[in-house]
Symmetry: D2
Subunit: 484 residues, 4 copies
């Protein structure tokens, strides 16, 4: 046991037998499916970098729980240093994979559970925290990847869980047994669910009296009977399957909808069951951590996008154009803004009763609000800098065609001395980073909708202190009666 | 002859035999290829609407040249009313097809030629204008679609045409014969080249002494020997081929690179040949017209995107959310801005020596600058309003699978009473409008790069008048000596 | 009678004897008060330009009502040409005065009244339209300036007119007599009320049953007994009074609060009295016209700001800096956007039952939304280009001081050959244009609050047409039952 | 000696006898001039808070140099904790004074000198660092305020120091004596120069061979013979002088131009003299620190602006308007962005050879770029939320006038129960925060021009690492020859 190599991780995923569908067909081997494999490779990078000399110190730390070195993606933050490392490993990985590495959400769940299970126990004398710690030891000892089963499909958004005409629109308890519970429902946008060993489920929203059956948290292996992963379509999803015009030659992302068709969860894996007033706290903690994670990985992706833009300027012969340099600066500025706010959220973190460190939510959400707007702008800038072939570059198969291949290579070249293949590869990468829906849309909807980030900021800010400051300067003494 | 029906147009395209490649294979029948057909259908809409009672008056007008009713896409504007109609038919079509209809560029070339050929003749006693008018009669009488062969592949952007190590990087004359000329080069981003009867070629930039061989304008059928269309890859290009998860069930867009591999052009189809000082005027006229066209079609596309967002709010049960209404307003505002500036550019147009009306370039470019930024923002807003399934909606093939289809339909439903299929279809359309590279990237690079639009505004503005106004108010009399 | 000269206008204002206060003191002579005079001069420019060869054709037109040439500021638009001229005279004046000329609001009231009084008469057989036309003849024959008494002080914004604890918070009827009515209330932000011959009062918002006493429209001279003008403070208001460091050496703006302390209005000047359901129409018509007016004058002001920035670049020796040119382009782009949308709103205007032409409200509001954001941005760009002395330039009085004057002149000089006085004057003008509150804050709040512009756009847009377009493309046939 | 009380600080400033002019007159007593006093009070707050229980721990720390508690504004940062405290005391003060407190620039100079003097000594065996430490002890022991004499007047910006036609456009050495040097020139925008005990001079830009006489750093008391402070005009500068309609009833800001008319500086106060290659480092260090300081104080000012907006919503009865809450969120988001990036710049700081800690320049400049744009936007949002009376509120003198005072108070009231005076005071404060030029223009030009911040980001970023990441993903191996 202990830290897994990249290969050991892939082997361990190969050993799992999840029920999965894609394009209407059942998937026989997840790791041998080129589309899913590209996503698994992105997660595998979290194992690989942990074993590289250059990155080991950043990725590996000692777990106080099992007293062994662990990958940080299995460690709820126990210090400010841990909070800071979260952002830095995410930026490193975002840059390394140029897309989503898909392992952060599991950590964000572990971190949320490590706080809230303790708090529930304090109120109800339950033993969720103990169960959670046993699960966490298992995760750490086996260097497991976890997935965040948070986003319910939600049906009619104007109705709460128990008001839905079809009560399965939010995952809920359908049977309570001696040995565990049976649950039903579906979770959408389950980034990397087939690259994960464990699926952790948390409630997706605040709940109230009447929603008891919906206030659930638990963890189960991704191949638990009744679990069905339906891999959704993404904009470039046939490229990996075709093995041509892939763009990002190493990594990709996929997002299943995961259906819980009466799935059994043993009690030792249940971390919340009916304590409705803690649902809000569970989802707020998770999503705040997750919004902060994005500040790392997305700034890392912009680094990569900036690199693509700069390289393309070289290839096109435009590296001296002042207006393009301005656009590169605008890209860097966006990366640093996400990173800066997210880092500050770490440094300003505070310890919670359970001993876990929690980030500053206002700063974490400030970062995410920028992401929701500015990733699109960074992408637009990259496309502007690189040129129109992002839209319509001929296929590598056209290059391979002896009738026209030589003509395409002749006409697609840029600056003298740059191999035309390199220019075409870079255009493909830019296309991938700009136009891949699974990744780009998480800029907007990852970690909750943009409005949720905004509302959080308003709720978590001390508005009265600000009003008091203004009144003092204006000379308003509210103790005094009107001079009217 | 005269106005073609939609069917007659498609038949006429079927009769052409262009050399075309896609994904490394030669295309036997353009109209029977589902991907190309979706683009051809979009152009076909320009014929269909011209025959519908609701739109005929807008689309059809009397040609003073052939004294017959013609489709406005064959008529260089001869009045302010014609200039205004350009914007309105484009907005109507943008909304109708939800993507690019691909017929505007040809009109923009015709309009530019109708001005500049006249001006060249005035200087050089050439007969380009007469040749052009004969060609125009042919286009009008046969209701042809033309394509704009403007954007050269350009090689090293820091070098001009005749400085390129490979002189074919800009299309140029390789032989001058008694009966015509032979040309070589390649034009990129040739939207709808296979949906067009004629390819019109114009220079892509200003030229100077030494560039004589590059200062060319002409028109040839799309199946002229030596012309090779290589259809580039777009982000969703396999969807139409697969016939599944198409999104826009009716229309699409494609963009070949067109290679001119020693193509012969008869003299009667040559409209410029060596008059370098008119190259700038040709491309400026074309691109100003074209930037204005975008103000129409792109506002029409936003209309459609707004409709998708509003529909999705109904389907999701979020139609009363104030923050989403604000986003819808932001979308509408962007559409009206593009439209308003583009309309104003028409109304403020001026007649040119040849009798053609030309738009106000500053206002046309003001519209385009907004497009370059704000289409991306309108798209982001649409995705924000609609929700995360734009990224990863299960395939229709999964729906058709008897093992999981019923579960997917169960869990993807929104508000009670809305068929789940409708909600899924709308998500697919949103995915198409947001993530289709061929169309979205033309927001940025169509009609020249964003920087070109900006430079045009600066060049075409009367800066001295503005300085004079400021000096008068500041009390600066520049006639007076310094009081120093 | 007929068109007044600038001098005749000022003489006519001198003859009026309004009750006015400023800084706690009663103003003896409005035209001799330097602060008010600078505002009056701005309005006087509307008379002056109407008599200049260069501008007469733009400013003067024939009135069909009195069959004499009149200044356009007294003519409700009777054609598309009139609507277009509105925007162009406003841009010309905005550039000429570099601030607000203060005469547009009166025209916007006349235009609204010329539509709505007719409509009320159609419903109630009243004779408001006839009364209005008599008033209009008076205005035209005497070339009068009118003011828009629209914005009530409003008290508690969460309550309607008749729900206010103090019912005077909206101007209302207090007595109905045989010869007229007596009204009480106050109107805020009465730009140029002392430069106007007549105060036109319109309701400030939609009204409903119970608000009858508040549904009033009328016109009275600015020195009617009971009318009290209290000139509010603006950021640079002491500069004109001191006669030093004025910045805009010719023109300025001021905004009184006008109190109606039981003011009598004769029936022939009452244009609405109790018809609550027309209040909304009155204010919507006025404000739409007014928002469009801003598209003209504010783009003219940006012209002047752009001129100041360009001049300063010359003076500072920075005229070749690429990043500053980009900022100038950004300024020009904003001017053209306001202008383009506003012009388009004119060209797309429609005739109303009374014969008056009304603009396209969506386009007019699109322009105003840009103004609300982009004037601040244009201002910021101007300050960025010009430099930090906008904040803290030494006074002309310091220049005049023999001990330090020579040193200041030595150290404030820019590029060789530019008189230091010119550079200082230009800094002062920039300070005035950037930091004068009366003018800059009207960018945001003039013509109603920014949210009002947005709500108007949503209300006036055909949302169903947009939804229909999206559904057609998505392949949704709502006639069909769910395939569920 | 040791920490000064607020009163002791004011007394110490009273004892200085600087030569100062304002509005053309010599100022007899700086502390008795109400305009200057309001600025001095803002600096005095840095002394007052250091003695308040609530803030002492934040403001006071032990100096390792003199082994006594000192105000942090006299301590070059010796640890990450010190770097972090910089941001927090600035945010606290920005909120406390609602404007600029004017003491940060001195600290930023001390910090820059504490690094660069050491580095110069290492190269040239000079003893600048020792001199500097002696000076620093003096500053710490007497709790002095220092001013940053950085921004030269610069003449023609296209020319370097020694190329100017008048060589005094950059401050320079005119005589080198045994006991010191004589300097001539002028520094602009000297915020708080008369509130400071010492003027620290640094070079304003990078220098090169030939500029030796301009590469100067030194410190002198603000009343040194030959120093002339000319207090420039700001937009609301007469308000404090008049003692009426002040807005911020406690604090303000002023900015002199300081002329060095052949001023003697003793050697022990000279910290750089001719070492041209260190000029760049000196100004880069200073300006990076200073840009970071802004991230603190300006976020504190936004806090205060947000408080004003929220209070005004209460007073106006609009506290439940959703669109106004959105604007408040936008304000908070901007504050947190400035703060977050600035904090992160601290936490990521690094120790320098001299032992001083320096911030991360990219993150510090990322914060400043936001400030340059977003303070204007936050201000616009505040004005939007509060309403139009920011432009033209009647004077307190009008309130005091018995003829109209009662009417103004009647009509300016908002929601029932809110004293009208409070609403008016809050409008005045908003006017002050929005329209005061000395403070608002420093958002743009403080710490160097916006372009300087951008260029810094580009220069300090590792562009090659980004390119490498993109190439790896694209599959580009630059070691291999082209497959062409």
């Amino acid at each position: 046991m202990g830290l897994k190599t990249k290969q050991a991780y892939i082997d361990s995923i190969r050993r799992m037998k999840p029920t999965a569908y894609m394009f209407g067909e059942k998937i026989a081997s997840v790791v041998d499916n080129p589309r899913l494999r590209a996503g698994i490779e992105a997660t595998a990078a979290t194992y690989e970098l942990a074993q590289m000399d250059e990155y080991r110190d950043l990725f590996v730390t000692q777990s106080p729980l099992i007293d062994e070195p662990v990958n940080r993606f299995t460690l709820p933050p126990m210090s400010i240093e841990d909070l800071v490392a979260r952002v830095k490993i995410n930026r490193t990985l975002g840059n390394w994979v140029g897309t989503c590495h898909q392992r952060c959400t599991g950590l964000d769940c572990l971190a949320a559970l490590s706080i809230v299970t303790y708090d529930i126990d304090q109120k109800y004398k339950t033993d969720y925290f103990k169960r959670f710690k046993e699960f966490l030891k298992h995760v750490q000892r086996n260097d497991l990847t976890c997935n965040a089963g948070v986003t319910d499909v939600k049906g009619d958004r104007s109705l709460g869980p128990h008001d839905q005409p079809d009560r399965d629109m939010y995952l809920h308890l359908v049977e309570r047994r001696d040995d565990g519970i049976v649950v039903r429902g579906a979770k959408a946008h389950q980034t990397g669910s087939l690259s994960s060993h464990e699926i952790i489920v948390l409630p997706t929203r605040a709940m109230k009296k009447g929603d008891e059956d919906y206030a659930l948290a638990f963890a189960i292996p991704n191949d638990t009977p009744g679990l069905i992963h339906v891999v959704g379509r993404s904009s470039l999803d046939t490229r990996e399957l075709d093995g041509c015009d892939i763009g990002n030659t190493l990594f990709s992302k996929y997002c299943p909808t995961v259906i819980f068709d009466d799935v059994f969860v043993p009690w030792e894996r249940v971390f919340m069951c009916g304590e409705v007033e803690f649902a809000a706290d569970m989802v707020v903690k998770f999503s705040s951590y997750h919004r902060q994670s994005h500040g790392g990985c997305k700034s890392g992706k912009i680094d990569c996008m900036t690199g693509a833009a700069l390289t393309m300027m070289e290839y096109n012969g435009t590296e001296k154009a002042g207006h393009l340099k301005q656009k590169v600066i605008d890209m860097i500025h966006r990366a640093e803004t996400l990173y800066g706010c997210s880092l500050a959220a770490s440094y300003e973190g505070k310890v919670q009763p359970s001993g876990t460190y929690f980030i500053d939510t206002v700063l974490a959400n400030a970062s995410k609000i920028h992401e929701g707007r500015e990733m699109a702008e960074a992408t637009r800038l990259m496309v502007d800098v690189c040129g129109g072939f992002v839209a319509d570059l001929p296929s590598d198969r056209d290059i391979a065609n002896p009738e026209v291949g030589h003509l395409i290579k002749k006409y697609l070249k840029g600056k003298e001395g740059i191999p035309v293949e390199n220019r075409m590869k870079m255009f493909r990468l830019v296309e991938k980073m700009a136009m891949e829906s699974a990744d780009t849309i998480s800029d907007i909807h990852g970690g909750g909708s943009p409005e949720a980030h905004r509302v959080t900021i308003l709720r978590e800010t001390d508005l009265e202190a600000k009003k008091k400051a203004a009144k003092r300067l204006a000379g308003i003494d509210e103790g005094q009666p009107s001079r009217k």
